[in-house]
């Protein structure tokens, strides 16, 4: 795949989202469904890699780029992740003028709420693929409860899940 196209597809996703995983539905739609560059599992793995290490949640875009086109793809993903950050510079300049505008606030709230819906929608195919057994469904539920209900670091949840998975594999031998 052409790197420039990959960059713009990923940028389209990052520039229309307001949170780390908010770009996921667009990436799923473009790279998995429309262009068929990635499989569901590759995208799912990229999200897992992004959540396993330190740094911003949006880093999974780098993993997506890598899965699509190797190291050059990872660089394209990184550039797509950082490019929207510079939009804050013009915002800084005009902040005092528009930051408190009620209509602008309502529009951003609506986009955030819609992003939550898109994220829930994007979770469906992942869940279909990942939750094949009762124990994987239980892990997903525990992960949800821990992540949504406590301040525990997601890296610990990932680590504990990997440990439990490895232990159960050894026990089943």
């Amino acid at each position: 795949m052409k790197l420039v196209l990959l960059y713009f597809l990923l940028l389209k996703a990052t520039i229309t989202s307001f949170s780390g995983l908010g770009s996921l539905p667009m990436i799923h739609s473009d790279l998995v469904i429309k262009h068929r560059i990635l499989t569901e599992r590759q995208l799912h793995t990229a999200v897992a890699a992004g959540r396993s290490g330190p740094g911003p949640i949006g880093l999974y875009v780098v993993a997506v780029g890598y899965a699509a086109a190797g190291v050059p793809g990872a660089i394209a993903g990184w550039l797509a992740m950082v490019t929207p950050a510079f939009l804050i510079l013009p915002l800084l300049r005009y902040a005092s003028q528009y930051a408190e505008d009620p209509r602008l606030k309502r529009v951003i709230q609506a986009v955030v709420l819609s992003s939550a819906g898109l994220l829930l929608s994007a979770t469906i195919p992942f869940a279909r693929e990942a939750l094949e057994h009762w124990w994987t469904a239980s892990l997903a539920l525990i992960s949800f409860l821990l992540t949504a209900g406590t301040r525990i670091d997601s890296a610990w949840v990932i680590l504990a899940s990997a440990f439990l998975g490895a232990i159960s594999a050894l026990l089943m031998r």
Partner: protein, 188 residues
């Protein structure tokens, strides 16, 4: 130093770079913990940034598309040391962790031959499903807590219906959300 006073000194480029490097790459849990560490380093410990400057950068980062914490880094670096520092801040805050993410992706991809590693990865992928649901809940929670649950329910549910039922693309749905947000006024 009071909230409105000017910063006490102009920091050097490399001292800013090193703090972004440390905060961005050693902090787990996403953007909020990183921004909290940067607040402590820049405002409380070194007084390079006023509380007002921090608040302005924090609130604007929330409304900037993309990864909020990187927008925050760009804003505070620009305030402290100009445009070059703004560029350097995103490189420092995300470059090394991006390399680590690539390494983790390779690790996950190469686990297919090993049954123990495969089950460990399956477990991780299941946990990620829970995390994705939690991420959606965290986007909805502030609106529900603020009593705007009707707005949250309408926008979220209609998005799912438009996506799953009518197969609209995310761009089309977000464009409709912009329109809906501009038109929807809360009762006083």
């Amino acid at each position: 130093m009071s909230k409105t006073e000017a910063p006490e000194s102009r920091p050097s480029f490399w001292s800013i770079f090193l703090i972004f490097l440390k905060a961005g790459n050693l902090t787990f849990g996403g953007g909020d913990p990183t921004m909290a560490i940067l607040q402590r380093e820049f405002c409380e410990r070194r007084h390079w940034l006023t509380a007002e400057q921090y608040s302005l950068a924090y609130s604007l980062a929330r409304v900037t598309p993309g990864t909020n914490v990187l927008a925050f880094c760009v804003a505070v670096a620009r305030m402290m040391h100009g445009a070059l520092a703004a560029v350097a801040s995103v490189i420092a805050a995300s470059g090394p962790s991006a390399v680590l993410v690539v390494w983790l992706t390779v690790f996950y991809q190469n686990s297919s031959g090993n049954p123990v590693a495969m089950l460990a990865v399956s477990a991780v992928l299941s946990a990620v499903v829970g995390m994705m649901l939690a991420a959606a809940v965290s986007l909805l929670r502030p609106h529900v807590k603020a009593g705007k649950w009707q707005r949250a329910a309408v926008f979220c549910a209609s998005t799912i219906i438009l996506r799953e039922g009518f197969n609209l693309s995310p761009v089309q749905i977000l464009a409709l959300a912009v329109l809906g947000g501009a038109l929807w006024k809360e009762r006083a």
